[in-house]
């Protein structure tokens, strides 16, 4: 059994704003196993990026984080900034959506990769440079010797993203957080980068948390996926399972809304209503206002429970959730298995 690299326990993130406190992440718990590619999917504003930033300790001062983020057993929340800095780029790395802002426009790409190495490892510049070259080759930069000295603007978007990935993997991190890494790329380039990530995971056994809104990307590359809505984690399952048999009403609606050649134009199934205001979120399940199966009980937050050993769901429609909320009562009522 592989170990757990990342464990989130009841993580809550709030932002202080002029209008009040925005509850961006509400009671999220999940575990990511070593070597797996875990996808975190949801639409804009669902809190997936906030969650990743909280894990890396990259949230602004206006944010308050509660709960525990255990990485290799240690709680990252409340770590000294200096210690977090040591971990970042070394044991945990992050790849962002826009490669142009992740790379310093003034410095050659090769140097930026080498700098990540020297920042965390006690090696001389020659060794670092050699390793950087090897990394550039590994991520598929053609003629890495020649391009080592290029400034980022000389590279295309796809190439830049590869450099960013090289930087992220330079010190062979245990965990890579990738926030919409291919969203800004053309579809043919995206295919290449996804291929690259898959290959790298295979070779280096890196654990990857992939954040995206694109269900296609999830289907292609992830082993397991967690679905988020308005700051809440509503469903977690293996990828095949999520697409084959989604259980949470939001996941079902999301999949139904995807454009499909067989549907007539004008007839895509939409989710009525809008995302709730996160300053004054509704009590309980935040999808309740738009859920076709809403019940009175939904004003209480349904806990995330194991529908099957591999499939978690947070919904009062699920027997597992009901049991998790009231084990004694369910047992007394002799609830159906």
């Amino acid at each position: 059994m592989t170990g757990t690299v990342l464990q989130l326990e009841h993580v809550e993130v709030g932002f202080a704003t002029a209008d009040g406190t925005v509850s961006a992440v509400s009671d999220v718990s999940l575990a990511v196993a070593e070597g797996e590619i875990f996808g975190l999917v949801g639409e804009s504003g669902c809190g997936k990026t906030t969650l990743a930033m909280a894990t890396m300790g990259l949230l602004p001062a206006s944010a308050t984080v509660r709960g525990a983020v255990r990485f290799e057993g240690n709680d990252l929340v409340g770590l000294e900034p200096e210690e977090l800095r040591r971990l970042r780029g070394d044991r945990i790395s992050m790849v962002f959506q826009d490669p142009m802002t992740s790379l310093d426009p003034a410095f050659p790409i090769g140097d930026q990769v080498a700098e990540t190495i020297t920042a965390h490892r006690d090696v001389d510049t020659k060794t670092a440079r050699a390793r950087a070259l090897a990394l550039l080759a590994e991520v598929g930069i053609p003629e890495p010797e020649r391009r080592y000295g290029d400034a980022p603007h000389r590279l295309s978007g796809g190439m830049r993203q590869r450099v960013v990935i090289a930087t992220a993997l330079a010190n062979e991190p245990a965990l890579l957080l990738a926030d919409e890494p291919t969203t800004a790329l053309d579809v043919t380039i995206q295919a290449q980068v996804l291929d690259l990530l898959r290959g790298l995971r295979r070779r280096l056994r890196t654990t990857i948390v992939l954040i995206t809104h694109d269900l296609g990307v999830i289907a292609q590359i992830c082993d397991r996926v967690g679905v988020m809505y308005a700051g809440q984690l509503v469903e977690v399952a293996a990828v095949a399972e999520i697409f084959r048999a989604p259980r949470h009403p939001y996941t079902q609606a999301l999949l139904a809304a995807l454009p499909d050649q067989q549907q007539e134009p004008g007839s895509l199934r939409v989710i009525p209503g809008r995302v709730p205001n996160l300053v004054t979120p509704p009590p309980g399940c935040r999808f309740a206002t738009r859920c076709p199966s809403v019940m009175d009980r939904c004003t209480v937050v349904p806990p995330l429970a194991h529908e099957t050993p591999e499939h978690l769901i947070a919904c009062w429609l699920s027997e597992a959730t009901k049991r998790a909320a009231d084990p004694a009562g369910a047992a007394a009522a002799g609830g159906a298995a």
Binding site: G157, V187, Q192, G216, L258, P259, P265, V270, I271
Partner: protein
């Protein structure tokens, strides 16, 4: 397999009607100003495009970055002036129009833009943005304009009372609807939509696509739908044109192009789509390399540097469009060779 062809209930284009828009040999070059040594190279954004669209037809123009599709859209809208070629709208040559005649053209052809956040003036109230074309073209009285704005908002599925709000109070999807309402205001015949749903969430995309389809049906609009998301295109358009590096490489009825792509680039594009279906994994033998620079496009066939089936001829001869019947055509020597010779 998404190859199931269904009899879809779209507005069928009137077969006998002449095209409402006909673009011939459109070229748009930009001169780049690189380096200290003054004006540099020429960027061949659009390099010889022919296309035709009929009233009530939805034509998708598909391509990745560097394909020139956005430049093409702006040329059609006359937001930029083409370097060469002709644009004929409703029987009139509009390539060189200026002043009042250009204004008359503008009333008939309206844009819908990609970014809901920057395509509406953040300081203007929503109603004013929707009415902009009415004010500029002096359509109707003040009272009539007000009525029309409310009617348009309703038509795009927004509460008319939103007319008094500012854009930042609206969500991305709502703003995009405002943009559509603004485009419909002067009752255009042709809409040029440049990636109208790319910046929206999936569930919001669905809403806006439904809206566009309904409007198209109700108003008999012709739409040039520029996109990079093939799933959206397959769903929304009658015909599809695939662009690569400033040229159209394949065109035809959408179902045909998707079911039976002839050009290697179209095939690669279709194969690269990550399907939201774990059973259909990308084969991993996809298109390699990057798109060449539009400043120095490859000789002969532009796609040859990445083409898995390129032959010698591709380096020397620029392939012409070969017809495969039923309005389906592709510009490829290898594909042309598959046709039985007479």
């Amino acid at each position: 397999m998404s190859g199931q062809v269904q009899a879809v209930d779209r507005v069928a284009p009137v077969p006998a009607a002449p095209p409402i828009l006909e673009v011939t040999g459109l070229v748009k070059h930009f001169s780049t100003d690189r380096g200290l040594l003054g004006s540099g190279a020429t960027l061949h954004a659009v390099d010889g495009v022919d296309l035709r669209i009929h009233p009530g037809e939805v034509l998708a123009v598909v391509g990745e970055s560097g394909s020139g599709k956005s430049t093409l859209a702006r040329c059609i809208l006359r937001l930029i002036d083409p370097t060469a070629g002709r644009i004929v709208f409703d029987g009139r040559d509009v390539t060189e129009l200026r002043g009042r005649q250009l204004a008359a053209f503008r009333q008939q052809v309206q844009p819908v833009f990609q970014d809901p956040f920057s395509s509406i003036d953040p300081r203007w109230r929503v109603g004013k943005s929707v009415a902009e074309a009415l004010d500029a073209f002096q359509i109707g009285t003040k009272h009539e304009r007000r009525e029309r704005v409310l009617d348009l908002l309703d038509r795009v599925g927004l509460d008319p009372s939103l007319a008094g709000r500012r854009p930042h109070e609206l969500s991305g999807g709502q703003r995009q609807r405002v943009g559509i309402a603004a485009a419909l205001a002067p009752s255009p015949k042709l809409i040029v939509a440049d990636e109208p749903v790319s910046a929206l969430d999936v569930s919001v995309q669905a809403q806006v696509l439904n809206l566009l389809a309904d409007l198209q049906r109700d108003l008999g609009l012709a739409i040039v739908f520029v996109a990079h998301d093939l799933a959206v295109v397959e769903h929304m358009s009658h015909r599809t044109a695939v662009m690569y590096l400033g040229r159209i490489v394949e065109t035809g009825p959408t179902e045909t192009v998707f079911r039976d792509p002839r050009h290697p680039y179209t095939k690669a594009l279709l194969e690269a789509i990550p399907h939201p279906d774990p059973e259909r994994q990308l084969t991993g033998g996809g298109l390699q390399g990057e798109i060449p620079s539009p400043i120095a496009p490859p000789s002969g066939c532009r796609f040859r540097t990445r083409c898995p089936v390129a032959i010698d001829r591709c380096a020397t001869d620029d392939p012409a469009m070969t017809a495969f019947g039923d309005g389906h055509a592709a510009a490829c020597h290898v594909a042309a060779a598959t046709l039985p010779t007479d």
